[in-house]
Structure formats: structure tokens, C-alpha cells
Symmetry: C2
Subunit: 215 residues, 2 copies
Amino acid sequence: MKTIGILGTGIVGRTVGKKLAQLGYNVTLGSRSADNEKAKQWIADVGGTAKSGTFAEAARHADAVFVCTKGDGTVDAVKAAGDLSGKLVIDLTNPLDSSKGMPPPLISQYSNTHSLGEAVQAAVPNARVVKTLNIVNCEVMVDPKKSGGDPTMLLCGDDDGAKAEATNLLKEFGWNDVLDLGDITGARSMEAYVTLWVRVYMTTGNGYNAMKSIR
Amino acid sequence: MKTIGILGTGIVGRTVGKKLAQLGYNVTLGSRSADNEKAKQWIADVGGTAKSGTFAEAARHADAVFVCTKGDGTVDAVKAAGDLSGKLVIDLTNPLDSSKGMPPPLISQYSNTHSLGEAVQAAVPNARVVKTLNIVNCEVMVDPKKSGGDPTMLLCGDDDGAKAEATNLLKEFGWNDVLDLGDITGARSMEAYVTLWVRVYMTTGNGYNAMKSIR
């Protein structure tokens, strides 16, 4: 695996994309329009082989696609990325409903008995979707030591090979403890956990909080 | 605080009640009917000043009431306990919908934008409700070392004094790290977390799993 597409030019996509570029991957940052200003600035910052393009351009030659879009735009972005058959699709998104103030609940349709992870897998049924990384802030995603400890990263998905590939990427980011929650429906609990993360952030002020599974 | 009422004769109520009796509290185990067979066996097991009675009898002289009922019977049980005004009410319950196989989702009406903790507080508005302990199995509740580590216990509620009293009880159980999530709406995230706990149990087989907040 050498070439990675990122969907989304927000802080998550830019941070994860930069880390992947630093690790030696050829990274294309994808957005709705090819002349995205944040993507241009990101290329200037990252240098090397970093490129930008539309969602479809970012995904076309990618071995793996990181989905880093806002929750409510995620399914559309994944569909706009073209044919993702066989590709590893790593879903980092959270279906937070930010229209209701803090703390945000989940977008109702993706809560409890459904999830955005499942919706992503359903949107690209021939892709191999793995949900992971959504449970911490993006700086901790690519450097778990920033949490101040050795936290656990959760992961789920329907394809065991895809989860093994994702685990290797997580290890490159510095995650020593990866916990597989089973099939993609595990995304329900992983996305719900984020409401707890937000609570801890609100009550402690620590945006680098994470959790260690004792098991 | 010397006298404690337990609502519920299931494994949670019996385990927590026994621990409280061992700590020197006068404990009454409450159930729907006064001649509950499990309560009689519990008294024989615990000895000392342990008693049983109806929900209302268990609560009448109690300084603190532990709510240990099944999710779908919780609000009725709390209402049946009589006047809980001013009392510390510790809600350990989880609104799991076990009708749909494993893993259980939350009962829909108590998910995402609502919770059983809030429903308990609304049912007894003059009581001082604290949600806690629901995030581990009952053996770990009263002996957190059984998890194999030094896990974090979460807690939330609208009354700071009640949370301080609950924290003292948690310390008597052995919890060294108690994290206050704020008002009772924090129960939304604490109850949703339990679906993650169940996932970890299903994939690792470890029913003593817990989590440590890194913050």
C-alpha cells in the first residue's frame, strides 16, 4: 500500500493526510471542488508528493481511502468518490448533530440501532470499510502519546483483511493497543462513545482525552 | 449515612447490597413483593442487620437508595418506592433492549437525546439522583481491582452534594478515579457506553472489562 486518498479538507483530513505523507505515502487530499483553498495551503505545508483533487480524483489511484468528512456530508462524499470496489476505506467520521448546542447528540438516524459506519459500508458495498480513529481528536489520532498515556484504539468492520491492514496503519501512527469490536455494527458503540468523549472534554477541558480498555 | 435501601433483587442488587452490609451499613433489599424468595436467600447469605421488604419499605428509612432494577421496570420501581424527597438516589440501571438478541441496543425512548437516568430524576424530582456504577459488571462495581487494573468510574447528576456523597461510597468500594460528567444528562453517554462494554465482552470474552480515562 503506497497511495492514499483523503476525503475532506477539514482539520481531520489535513492532519491525517500530513502524517501519512510524513510516513512516506503518496497522499491526495480530496474535496468537493478541485480548487479548494485549504487543499492548496495543505500542499504548500506538506510538500513532497502531496496532491489535491476532487473526491473522485483522490480515490481513483488510492489503495486506501480515509473518510474525514463532517458527519452529515459523509455518505454523499463517499458516493462522489467513484468506484471504491476492493479498496480499504477507513471511516473516521462522527454523526454529531451540532445544530442543538453542546454537547451534541448523534444525528438521530445514525444512533442506537444504526451508525454512520454502516451507512458508509452500505453506500459502497464492494469496498472494505473499517471504522476507526473517530474516538479521539485528530492530533491524538496520529500521535496517541499526546493523550498523556498509552490509550486503546477501537476498530470494527466486516472484512478481516481490511482490519489487519488498518491495524498496520494504526501501528504506524503509534497505536500499541488496538481492540477489534467485530463487524461494522460496532460503529454504533464507537460513535456513541464520542458523546462521552465530548462530555469529558467539556468537564475537564482536556481535548486530548482518550481511554484505555482494561481487559 | 447509615441506612441504605436497594431496589431490585437481581444479581446487581444482591451484590451491591452485600458489599454495603459488609461495609457496616444497614441494608434493606426491596422487591415488588415482600416475600421475594431471592431476598430471603440473600438475608441468609449476608446475615447481620440485613433485611428485605417492598420497594417502599426498603426506601422508607434509607438515607440512600440504590436503584438496581432492570431497565424497563426502573421508572415504575422508583415510583413505587414512595417519597424519596431529599434522599440520595444512586441509579445503576441500564436501558438495554434485550428483545433483539445480542448485542442489545438501548431501549429507543432512552437513547441519544434521553436516558434512563434522566427518567429516574424526572420520576422523583425532589430526590437527588446520581447515575454511576452502570458501566461495569456488578462484581467490578464493588471491587474495581477485579478488572485487573485501576479503572475510572463515571458519575453524573444535578446535585453536587449528592455527587460528593456518592463519590465517598465509590471510594469505599475501592474506586480511586471518579470522573464527574456534569448534570444528569451525562447519563446519555454513560448508558450508551454500556453498548461498547457489551461489544468488548462479546469479542474478548472478558466480563470484567472496564476503562481508564486518560485525561
